[in-house]
């Protein structure tokens, strides 16, 4: 069974700034696991920009994961469509290979905030699936836990890059907005890890086994309570 998650994040930057910033996400001081980023195809069609990029990341395989995965590089395909008239930027990422072990698909739509036209809202959906007998539930449950944690990391990371690109805008940001926590995070390198939440997840499958078992157990308990689709709130206190 596929697990579905969604959440939304507010960026106190204009849609144009967020769109420009998107292409500058890598490299950053906390993306050492990202090895490469290439544009595979790109074209303008009906006034929209269609891009496809290939990302590769290192793959630290946990002990119990070694029997499923032998190679040590994860490949991720990122499709995107930028519509400058409607001001929407849609990204869709999926991992290549290992999809039986864990397939993570993430869609993010960035659009102008209805609350404040100078802000941008990112609505994130993720589908996590695994076909490994006996492990799928743990892997999916681990996914939920990790996804919740990563949503705050992701917004902190993107904000970090945006603030460096657009320092004048950053001066007027409200650090008290619940979904930001930006002022606190600027000085905290661990929070500035820059990635999409599910991209991290695609990578994090290969994180340390102990951490994973622990997270999986906790999340399995949680998942049992939430049989249906889960709306994951982006809470500032999660680390």
């Amino acid at each position: 069974m596929v697990k579905y998650y969604e959440n939304s994040t507010v960026f106190q930057f204009s849609w144009d700034q967020v769109a420009r910033g998107f292409w500058h996400r890598y490299p950053n001081p906390h993306s050492s696991h990202v090895l490469s980023e290439d544009t595979i195809s790109r074209e303008v069609k009906d006034g929209k920009l269609y891009s496809k990029r290939l990302l590769t990341k290192t793959n630290r395989v946990p002990k119990w994961g070694e029997r499923f995965v032998s190679k040590n590089i994860v490949k991720i395909v990122e499709e995107s469509v930028v519509d400058p008239k409607e001001k929407t930027f849609t990204t869709y990422t999926r991992n290549l290979g290992y999809t039986k072990v864990m397939s993570v698909i993430e869609k993010v739509v960035y659009r102008v905030s209805e609350e404040n036209p100078k802000w941008t809202v990112a609505v994130r959906s993720a589908w996590i699936d695994s076909h490994v007998f006996g492990f799928s539930r743990a892997i999916q449950a681990f996914g939920l836990d990790r996804f919740k944690k990563n949503c705050s990391k992701m917004s902190g990371g993107f904000n970090y890059v945006l603030a460096h690109m657009f320092p004048t805008t950053a001066q007027y940001m409200n650090p008290n907005l619940s979904q930001m926590g930006f002022a606190d995070r600027m000085g905290e390198p661990s929070m500035t890890k820059l990635s999409h939440a599910a991209e991290d997840l695609q990578h994090s499958f290969h994180d340390k086994a102990e951490k994973m078992k622990d997270a999986a157990k906790k999340a399995t308990d949680l998942a049992k309570k939430n049989a249906g689709p889960v709306y994951v709130a982006c809470q500032p206190n999660q680390s």
């Binding site: 596929v2 579905y4 969604e6 144009d16 769109a19 420009r20 292409w23 500058h24 890598y26 490299p27 990202v34 090895l35 490469s36 980023e37 290439d38 544009t39 595979i40 790109r42 074209e43 303008v44 006034g47 920009l49 496809k52 290939l54 590769t56 490949k75 395909v77 499709e79 995107s80 469509v81 930028v82 400058p84 849609t90 869709y92 999926r94 290549l96 698909i105 869609k107 959906s125 589908w127 249906g228 689709p229």
Partner: protein
């Protein structure tokens, strides 16, 4: 950011710089003519395709579009 092919890094850098300027100064301002970086993209592409082949990456897996097609996932009906 590095390219998947070490020999493509310089070509990628040149193309990326061009693209960033084009995206900010042309595309977002309504000019959809993308010829500005096309020559750089072409040589960079040739290099990447070769590097992918050397690393046994199936172009077929990457070429398939998911976004905007029947392959695209949709949220479950609640």
């Amino acid at each position: 950011m590095n390219s998947i092919g070490e020999t493509c890094n310089e070509l990628k850098k040149q193309y990326d710089s061009c693209f960033h300027v084009w995206f900010s100064e042309k595309f977002l301002k309504g000019d959809t003519n993308d010829s500005m970086c096309a020559p750089m993209f072409k040589v960079y592409q040739q290099c990447v395709k070769k590097a992918m082949k050397e690393q046994h990456i199936e172009p077929k897996d990457i070429e398939i579009n998911h976004l905007g097609t029947e392959e695209e996932k949709t949220p479950p009906r609640s």
